[in-house]
Amino acid sequence: MASTLAGLPLLILLLVSVIASAQVSQAARKWLPLAADGIHDPKNPSLRLLQEPAESLSRLPADTAGNQVHWLQALEGGAINPRTNILPGTQVMVIDLDIYLNMKGGTPIVRFPHRAHTLWLDCSNCHQHLFVSKAGANKLSMNAMLNGEQCGVCHGAVAFPLTECNRCHNTPRNKPLPAGALRGL
């Protein structure tokens, strides 16, 4: 009962953010100029040598949150081709393995895609310090994420933010999962 109650504000937030993101997508994308972004020193004579975010990001596939760039589409569609390594001996690994998380909750199931992550990240960025590599071995919590832990280490800092509930809560609970689907807790 207590945990159902604790989930309630989050459920409301889910609703709210769906409405909010619908509103944002109507507006044109805008980026603050560096000189007015609050962290660059406008008195720096070299400031004009730096690239303005708008110049680079406006050319990439649109999103409504974070950098307002859909980074995964940018990568998979070939709009960008960031280097995978700079040291010649590095082994670059990409795996295609989905794991379904949040199997017991009230909000939609979370399909965690290894492919989307390993295109960008190395296994060691998550395993074993953030997540043990065994389906069902990790007790995850939305609150911990909101505190910048677990998925929230990246989502909320550099990868799309936690306000994008349905990007993670992406799988309806009332339909059967693919045969042989790996399930977490």
Binding site: D37, S46, D122, L146, P161
Partner: protein, 128 residues
């Protein structure tokens, strides 16, 4: 859905916007490094994730170059950089322009604390 409910949902939506989309400062993912800079008479350093991730995947810096994924967790000095460590792995006049271009890195407003900027960031015990 009744009219009242829609109004209430819209209100909640507005509230959510105010809470979630906090006034945007900096670009999402910008990191300020100011552990030693200002103490030594130079501006804080601004590291833009958006700019670098167009060119490099996360694994280059956070696995190959072993930058810890926690703002403020890496103790970087200018000597390290000129010796080819941290930013100096690339800012060496080979992969990118060199360490002589002080103002391109030391571009932050005086007084900024080390940390991640750009809104949306979560806060709490995990951060400290």
């Amino acid at each position: 859905m009744s009219n009242g409910l829609i109004k209430r949902a819209a209100l909640l939506g507005a509230l959510g916007l105010a809470l979630l989309a906090a006034p945007s400062v900096a670009e999402y993912g910008d990191v300020v490094l100011n552990k030693v800079s200002e103490k030594n008479g130079v501006r804080p350093v601004v590291f833009p994730h958006w700019f670098h991730r167009v060119r490099f995947r996360c694994k280059v810096c956070h696995s190959e170059l072993a930058f810890k994924m926690r703002a403020g967790a890496n103790v970087v000095t200018m000597a390290d950089i000129t010796n080819g460590k941290f930013c100096g792995m690339c800012h060496n006049n080979q992969i990118a322009w060199g360490a002589d271009k002080c103002d391109l890195c030391h571009s932050g407003k005086p007084g900024l604390k080390s940390g991640i900027y750009g809104g949306h960031q979560t806060s709490g015990p995990g951060r400290w």
